[in-house]
Amino acid sequence: MTALEASGRSASPAVDSSSAAGSRPVTPASEHTRRATARKWAEIALFVGPAMVLFLTFVVYPVVSAARFSLYKWNGVSQFSDAEFIGFENYARALFGGTDPATQQAFTTAYSQPFWEALSHNVAIIFLSMAVQLPIALIVALTLNRRFRGRAFTRVVIFAPYVLSEVIAGTMWLIIFDPNGIATDLMRAVGLDMPAGGWFEDQTWGFWTVFFIITWKYVGLAIILFLAGLSGVSEDLQEAAAIDGASWWQIQWRINIPLIGPTIRIWAFLSIIGSIQLFDMVWVLNRGGTAGQYSTIASYMMEIGFFRSDWGYGSAIAVIMFFLSFVIALAYMATILRRDNAHPRKAR
């Protein structure tokens, strides 16, 4: 999203300046254009250069390094020059237990299954976010989209979880969901008990506890985005519809929701990418759970790469995660976001 904007912005002045130079009827045309071109490139270098250096150093270089590490058997301690090149074996180990028949069975249990389990949690969170966060956020945003006493305060309260640091929020929920904590007491007060294995560590319920926390943490962002989108919807339209006899629900359904479509689609995009890369919260809670009850690809990568010192394999997981995000982002842009991006160009 920001990258798109940035590239869009840097592209348009370039186009403008060249067309302006071309339309100027001056005689030594080649001399002028050459100077204009040089100046244009100097400007580009000046403005884009620093950002480019940062981008290359902190994005491209690490990605390329990870891709390189992922082709080696390397424990992160020995000299990388001594590491053994094993091609795509690390990827094979994650995806289907590797290509060596002698170890495939063992690797499937020890490495492939936890990987797919982690990935399935990411996928579940993507779809559950759409199914749970989207309706909640829409209803709250539509309800709050009017003037009432304490509106600003309500918005702050709703947005507060999103602003809280993940570590603070995670620690807070660890205390609340402690087996001897408040949540357990509340449940017992109404005659229920916590999940048998504990709130976070239960094999079935651990994931849902974490999903509840994720929803609590991120639904505020969706609400604020939708409210911002709604404030851009002209009141004239709503008044006109009201005069025509449309009910409150009809106004929401036929005017407000369709008009904030671009906002919803952008939120969905951020939510999907965020779900694939979800790390901080699951790590703070307990590194994805003692048996990976709520592991994600990122927490699995950290666990194996750093804590087990299996850097080659961890790098392969990182590259898989990067590839997934990249492909999904491109596909989403090319399909769902295409119509939103098409509008401004037509207008120009």
Binding site: T103, G181, E201, N286, S309
Partner: protein
């Protein structure tokens, strides 16, 4: 040695400093040593270890004015898992850094990151005795420990009394009997911080220690061979023990040290009778008091320790014990003064001061008289009288196989894995190394 010579050639009076580790008079060229250790402030803001190391560095530099020591205090896991590995990789490593020994140190040594101290500090190695073994690879010394101790079971005598337990259990049968008596008295018998993984794994280590012969465990550190049936047997014994339900409810949600609901908090607050832990828990428990002298004294009044009970059968010695410690290594390119300073850290007087100021268990035999607390004396006594002390299994096996082992053991606690699963996970991890 070639390296030491190379280092000192840039030093005008270098010949002098290679001659003996204890030399290095005030006439030497200025040297800066960087030192990374894990003595950080706890929840209460107290940092007795960090303060003591500051004092040690100040005392040393006062005697060696040409040496400047720059200390960085780094939280244990950050230090071990992130800072040291990346610093070694980058080639810009601290001169002296925390070293836990075992498989991880062997990997660092193999990669050529560590200074060989065997000759330079031979006198100190001899003085410290068998405790140095985990910091040696094939007879070559790559680090020296300043602390080493065995683990055992901490317990609250008042709760034992309440349950009618009259003596410390010395066999597993007696331990199981004590567990039953405590349960009958409505007391949680044993607290375990299984959420953190390793505290749960230590139960398995102790079963493995008793079912596996000494050389089977020791060789596994280098051969990564887990085909001996004793490894499977350790898991089966653990399964049987968990079957007696000795631990607090929801033990996989319990952490080891943070908060009143942690395993240490439960024991400190009298909500559980026992906990299997290293000697550091002496201080962890103190952290749950209000910090006043009376409260700490009251805690120690009702806190005792006994060695892990012996199991029936098995090829290991019944008096063998699991243990571990902390030490330091010098980076391969560190100035020779690093080894000299390390020798100073483990010298008898500094070790004695360590026991007095920090309450740690020193490695130097001559410093053992500085341990005054009866419980810590008991631990020191058990450490020195054990038939042999086996280094923590995860440290021995290194992070890859050790981590897979710990995760497999936690799965037994979770009910999602079994004894065979631990062995399978270790074999799989060994195959990736």
């Amino acid at each position: 040695m070639a390296l030491l010579a190379a280092c000192s050639s840039s030093d005008p009076e270098g010949g002098d400093s290679t001659a003996g580790a204890t030399s290095g008079g005030s006439g030497d060229a200025p040297v800066t040593l960087t030192w990374w250790h894990n003595g950080v402030a706890g929840d209460t803001g107290e940092n007795s270890l960090g303060d003591y190391w500051d004092k040690v560095a100040a005392d040393y530099t006062a005697e060696h004015p040409n040496v400047t020591i720059e200390i960085e205090q780094i939280q244990n896991e950050d230090l071990q898992r992130t800072r040291i590995p990346t610093a070694l990789q980058s080639g810009d490593a601290p001169d002296l850094f925390q070293q836990w020994g075992g498989g991880e140190m062997a990997a660092q040594a193999e990669a050529g990151y560590l200074m060989d101290l065997s000759d330079t500090l031979s006198a100190d190695i001899e003085r410290l005795g068998g405790g140095v073994a985990p910091w040696q690879v094939d007879g070559t010394t790559y680090g020296l420990p300043f602390q080493f101790a065995v683990e055992g079971i901490w317990y609250r005598p008042s709760l034992f009394e309440k349950a009618g337990i009259t003596s410390e259990p010395t066999t597993m049968a007696e331990l199981e009997d004590a567990v039953q008596k405590l349960k009958d008295a409505d007391i949680v018998p044993i607290a375990v911080g299984a959420s953190d993984g390793w505290p749960a794994a230590h139960w398995w280590y102790n079963f493995a220690l008793r079912s596996c012969a000494q050389d089977v465990v020791a060789n596994a550190g280098t051969s990564l061979d887990f085909t001996d049936p004793c490894w499977l047997d350790a898991g089966t014994q653990l399964e049987d023990f968990i079957g007696t339900e000795p631990f607090q409810p929801q033990f996989t949600s319990t952490v080891a040290q943070t908060g009143a609901t942690s395993s240490a908090g439960m024991v400190a607050n009298g909500n559980a009778a026992m906990e299997l832990m290293g000697q550091w828990n002496y201080f962890v428990y103190e952290g749950f008091t209000d910090g006043s002298d009376e409260a700490i004294a009251a805690l120690h009044e009702d806190l005792d320790w006994f060695p892990m009970p012996a199991t029936e059968g098995g090829a290991g010695d019944p008096s063998a014990a699991m243990g571990g410690g902390d030490g330091f290594s010098c980076y391969v390119d560190a100035p020779v003064e690093c080894a000299d300073f390390l020798a100073y850290i483990v010298s008898d007087d500094v070790q004695r001061g360590y026991a007095e100021a920090v309450g740690g268990l020193p490695v130097a035999p001559a410093a053992s008289d500085a341990i005054t607390d009866p419980v810590l004396q008991k631990i020191a006594q058990t450490t020195s009288s054990a038939a042999y002390v086996q280094l923590w299994m995860d440290t021995l096996l290194g992070p890859n196989v050790g981590g897979a082992m710990n995760d497999g053991i936690v799965n037994i606690f979770n009910g999602t894995g079994d004894a065979q699963g631990v062995v399978d996970a270790m074999i799989a991890a060994a195959a990736t190394a």
